[in-house]
């Protein structure tokens, strides 16, 4: 994962919207995706290219159709790298509370 590319790809509302649209309904053609946008086909294509270069969108040919799939794996990697560690203390507190409530001390 190229984290710079992923963060740059995410730093645009239209591209985040495309991610949401694909998350709701995966595997869409360019024409399908243009229906949701007040943008030219060319602009949507450019956004999709940036998302694809960041690894957030993967394209697959099915017959004559090029389908766009959301690849959430780079987002998971960012979560693992940048978010999870800040949750650790909270998770530990919940874990400690659970142990105390259950009256066990062996984990």
């Amino acid at each position: 994962m190229d984290a710079d590319r992923v963060f740059k790809a995410l730093a645009d509302a239209s591209r985040r919207r495309l991610i949401d649209i694909l998350n709701a309904h995966d595997g869409q053609t360019l024409s399908d995706l243009c229906v949701h946008h007040d943008m030219t086909r060319q602009a949507v294509t450019q956004h999709l290219n940036i998302l694809e270069a960041a690894g957030l969108v993967v394209t697959v040919w099915r017959g004559r159709e090029k389908l766009h799939f959301l690849n959430p794996v780079p987002l998971q990697e960012i979560y693992d790298r940048w978010i999870r560690k800040f949750e650790r203390s909270r998770l530990k507190a919940i874990h400690d509370l659970k142990r105390r409530l259950e009256g066990t001390h062996d984990g």
Binding site: M1, G27, V58, V60, F69, N71, V73, E77
Partner: protein
């Protein structure tokens, strides 16, 4: 019944052979996935996904469709109760391609029942499983919250 498809891609700094083993070898899968994948991985054989604890509970079953080590593996995927109901199996293809000194692993999961619990589980599951596998292969440590 509407069917849905998902495609996941991850780049891993490892050889194709190691990634192949990481997918199939229970010694590996239990460390990053919390489950053992068990089969002889020959086309036509069954495979099972068993919880890596004392219960060894079978969580998923399926059939091996295609096996071309270390490049391409295709399996079916179902809940144990649907083992004999082949029409209810979904399908997973793993493709491993070298890219420079890394490999690109593509997981294509299709023929899923749209709106099903299985669909939701795999959407939540694959990114975590793949990220954990990458972590194990590259650093020797899986993601710590996975096995719980």
């Amino acid at each position: 019944m509407a069917r849905s498809s998902f495609v996941y891609v991850i780049y891993i700094s490892a050889t194709s052979e190691r990634v192949w083993r990481a997918l199939l070898d229970g010694e590996f899968t239990r460390r990053y996935w919390g489950h053992d994948n068990v089969s002889d991985w020959q086309p036509g054989s069954t495979w099972e996904h068993r919880r890596a604890d004392n219960t060894h509970a079978v969580r998923l079953v399926g059939e091996v469709i295609e096996s071309n080590p270390p490049h391409r593996l295709v399996i079916t995927w179902a809940e144990p109760k649907d083992k004999v109901h082949r029409s209810r199996h979904s399908r997973v293809a793993f493709e491993i391609e070298p890219v420079g000194d890394m490999v690109r692993l593509t997981v294509t999961h299709d023929e899923l029942e749209a709106g099903s619990e299985m669909e939701q589980n795999i959407k939540n599951g694959w990114p975590r499983v793949l990220s954990s596998m990458k972590s194990l292969l590259e650093t020797g440590r899986p993601l710590e919250t996975w096995a719980s």
